[in-house]
Subunit: 245 residues, 4 copies
C-alpha cells in the first residue's frame, strides 16, 4: 500500500487538433486535465496517445501500468488489433481499465463485453444528472446524491452491455432518457469501470466532481494481487485418507 498506483491515461487526441471548439476547451488535449488531477491526488501518471508508436502502449508501458484510462471516438478503427490484444491480456492479468464516454465503442471495450456496446444518443447541450444508486461503493466516495452537468451529449438506453457487476450511477437527461452511466465489470483478474460523461465539446473533464469519480475508480481498479490462475492438467488431492468421516 506504500507504492503509488501507476495510471496511464490513454487518449485518441484527434478532435482537439481538428475542431477549434474542442481545442479551445482542451488546449493540451482532453487527457491533460485528467492526468493532472490524478497526479495531484498522488497517483503516478503517464499519458499515451493514438498517434504515438504502438499508440504509446508498448509491452513495457503496459507492464508498468496498474490502471489504464481510455477515451476514443473518431478513430476507433485505427487502433491496431495487436495492441487491443495486448491490452486485453493485461486486463485479464489484473490491470484496471476505466473506459470513458465514447470509449464505449472502442475495440477493447467491445472485446471485453462481448456485445455491440451500442446506444441512443443526441447532441443537444442538455442537462445531465448522474444519480448515485450504490452510495456504499468506493467509486462514490465524496460524491453527493447526484452530480449535475449543465450541458452534455445525451446517451440513452438501451445500452447494449452485459448486466454490470455493480451499477453505481444512473443518468437523467432533460430530453427524456436515462442511462446506466457508471458500471463495473470483472474480466479475469481485471476490474473495469465504464463512466459516461466526457463529450469533447463540453468542459466535463475540468469538473472536479467528475475528476473525483475518475480518481476513485483508479483507486478501486488497481490490481489486488490475488492468485494468478493455474490452468491445465492437474493431479487429484494426494492423500484422501485425511478424510476421517
Amino acid at each position: 500500500m506504500s507504492n503509488p498506483i501507476r495510471v496511464t491515461v490513454w487518449h485518441e487526441f484527434r478532435h482537439e487538433k481538428r475542431n477549434e471548439k474542442v481545442g479551445a476547451i482542451y488546449p493540451d488535449g482532453m487527457h491533460m486535465p485528467i492526468a493532472n488531477y490524478l497526479q495531484e491526488q498522488g497517483f503516478e501518471v503517464k499519458t499515451a496517445t493514438l498517434d504515438e508508436e504502438q499508440h504509446g502502449l508498448t509491452e513495457e508501458v503496459l507492464a508498468q501500468t496498474d490502471v489504464l484510462t481510455w477515451w476514443g471516438h473518431m478513430a476507433h478503427g485505427e487502433v491496431q488489433d495487436e495492441i487491443v490484444q495486448r491490452v486485453h491480456k493485461r486486463v485479464l492479468e489484473g490491470m484496471g481499465l476505466i473506459v470513458l464516454h465514447s470509449g464505449h465503442f472502442s475495440k477493447i471495450f467491445q472485446k471485453l463485453m462481448g456485445t455491440t456496446c451500442n446506444l441512443r444518443w443526441r447532441e443537444a447541450n442538455e442537462t445531465e444528472r448522474l444519480w448515485v444508486v450504490q452510495p456504499g461503493h468506493p467509486i462514490a466516495r465524496n460524491v453527493g446524491p447526484y452530480i449535475e452537468l449543465e450541458a452534455e451529449e445525451m446517451y440513452g438506453e438501451f445500452f447494449d452491455i452485459p448486466q454490470p457487476d455493480e451499477l453505481i450511477f444512473v443518468s437523467w437527461f432533460a430530453g427524456g432518457e436515462v442511462f446506466r452511466s457508471g458500471a463495473t465489470f470483472t474480466r479475469g483478474l481485471g476490474k473495469i469501470f465504464y463512466f459516461r460523461p466526457g463529450h469533447e465539446t463540453f468542459p466535463t473533464y475540468h469538473n472536479r466532481e467528475i475528476l473525483n469519480v475518475i480518481a476513485n475508480a483508479a483507486q478501486w481498479a488497481a490490481p489486488s494481487h490475488g492468485p494468478a490462475p493455474q490452468f491445465g492438467n492437474f493431479k487429484p488431492l494426494e492423500d484422501l485418507s485425511r478424510f476421517a468421516g
Copy 2:
C-alpha cells in the same frame, strides 16, 4: 404447464373508500382492474384485502397461491406480524411475490430485503418514462423501448434496496429524478419482482402496458418446482472408493 397459474391479488383497499378522487378512478378498488386483466390472460385469480379475516391470507389461501401481488400504503402497520411471517415462509418455499408501488414500505418487502426500502418522492402529476434496460427478460415481453405515463407520483433514488438480481426498468421523471422501477430478487425458492407505478390518484392500473408487465411478472414468478432444501445434519458420501483417480 397445463394448469393455470394461481394468482392472489392482495390489496389494502382503504384509499378508495375514504378519498373520492381515488374512488372515482377505481370504484371497485385498485385490485380489480389487475385481477380482471390477469383473469383475461388465463391466470386463475383470487383477491384478498386487509380488512378481511386474516387479511384474506389464510394458510389455505396461501397454500393455493402460486403468485401473490401486494399493494399497500396508508395501513402497512395494521398488517399482522403473524401474517407477514406466513407470507415470508411461503415466498422462501417458492411462491412468487409482486410488490407494487407503495408496497415498497410494506413489512413483507422490508423483511425480504433486509433494508429500509426508503426513497425520495413527490406528488406532482409529472410524466414518468419507464425505460427497458434488460430487453431479453421475460418480464419485458411485448413492451416497447419504454412505457410512458403522462402523470404519476415521483419516486427517486437512492432507493434503499439490495442490489437487484436483475434490473429491468429504470424510470425517468420530468422533475429531474431516476428510479430503479422494475427489479427482481430471489429469496429461498421465491422469485420477487418490485414494480414502481401505481399511485392511487392516477389511472395507472387501467393502462394495458402496465397490466401487461404485471402479467409477464406473474408468469415469470410462478414456482419452478426445484428441489426443496434439505437442511441439517448429513452423512458423507458413502463410497469414496468410486474415485478412481
Copy 3:
C-alpha cells in the same frame, strides 16, 4: 406459447468417428440423445454439425432457431469466423445459447464472454456431484438437491468467465476440486447457459437427469419477445409542458 420452441443441436461430431470408445457410447453421435430427448419433450428439433456446408448453420437455419446448443472440442479452430459472427449476431437479437462441456473453449463462447474461458482439468473417471445452489431457478425444475455422475472428466476453478448473472450448479469432484458448472449470462437480448457435464468418453448424455437440465435450459433460453433495441440519434421528448410540477 402455443408454438413449440425450435432447438438446433449443434455438434462437432468428430470424436465418435475417430475413437472407438466414443463411437461405442454414441453410435449416432453425442448430439442424437440430446436431440431425441428434446423432441420427446415437445421441442421442434434440428441438428447441425461441423462438417456440413456452413457447419449446418445457414442464415435460414439460424433465423428459424430459438435456441442453439453447442458442443465442440478437438476442432474449435475449424469453425469459420463468419459463422461465429452470424451466431453472435443472432444471440444478441435474442436466440438462446446452451454451451455444453468442452464448448467452453469454442470461439462463440469466448467472444460472448470476453475472457479466455480457461480452466483446470483432469481425465480420471472420477465422481462428480452437481449441487443446486439456486433451487428456485427454472433450470433446476425437477432436479434433486444434487445430480451425481459416477465418472466424468474433472473441470476445476479458476474458470475464467465473467461473474455469471445467476449461478445454478456448483460441481464437487472426488479429486479435490469445485467448479461453477451451471451458470447463466445475458448478452443483448440473448440468454446463455453454460452447463459443464458431457465428456465424450462417458455416457453422460444418456443420463436423463442431465437431459432434463438441458431441456429446462432450452425452455428458459427461448426468446422473450422484448423490445428490439433502437440505436442511433434521437430527438428529445417533444412536449416538456406536460410536466406540471
Copy 4:
C-alpha cells in the same frame, strides 16, 4: 487513508468456558487471535462479547466502529433485539460487517439477508478446500488458488442466502459437499462479507491464511464515505429552461 480502520471483534465467548477442548485451543477466546492479527496489520482493534453490558455494543462503541466482525453459535437467542436493531442501523449507514462461520444463524445476519440462512452440516474432522473463484477481488489478496484446512466442520448447499453480489470462495469438503464460503452483500451503505471457516473445535483462527482473508475483508468493508441518503419529499429541478434541446 491516513487514519487506521477501527475494527470491533464481537464474540459470543461461551464455548471456550464450557468445553475443555475449545478452551485448550483458544485459552483467551476465539476472538483474541483475530484481534491480535488485525492489530499487527495496523487496524485499531476493540473486542466486545455477549456477556458484557449491552453485549459490549453501546451506541458509542458502534459509532466508533468502521467494521464489526461477528461470531456466535450456542446463544444467538440471547442477543437482545434492541442491539440487533442498533447494529442493523449502523450497517445501513455504512459500517462494514464480517460474519464468521456459525454467525450465519445470528439474528443480525438473518435480518440483513431476509432468509433463513439455513444449511447442511456435519462434524467429521474432514478436509476443506476453499477455492478462489474471483481472484481479482481485494478479499483474495495474497491468497493462493485455494486454502486448505486439514479438518473443519462441513457446511453444505443449499445455503439459504440471497444471491451474493460477489462470490469469492467456494469450499470443497472431502465428504462430498460444496459451499459458497466467501460471499459479499451490500445493504444500504454497508458492505457485508460472510466467511465460512471457524468451528470452535478446530484451530482455524490460528491459521494465518484464514486471518489474512479476514484482514482483507476488514480493509474492503470499511466505510467509503459515499453520499448519505436523502429520503422524503423533494421539489423538482428548478429551472427546466436550462434544457436547450
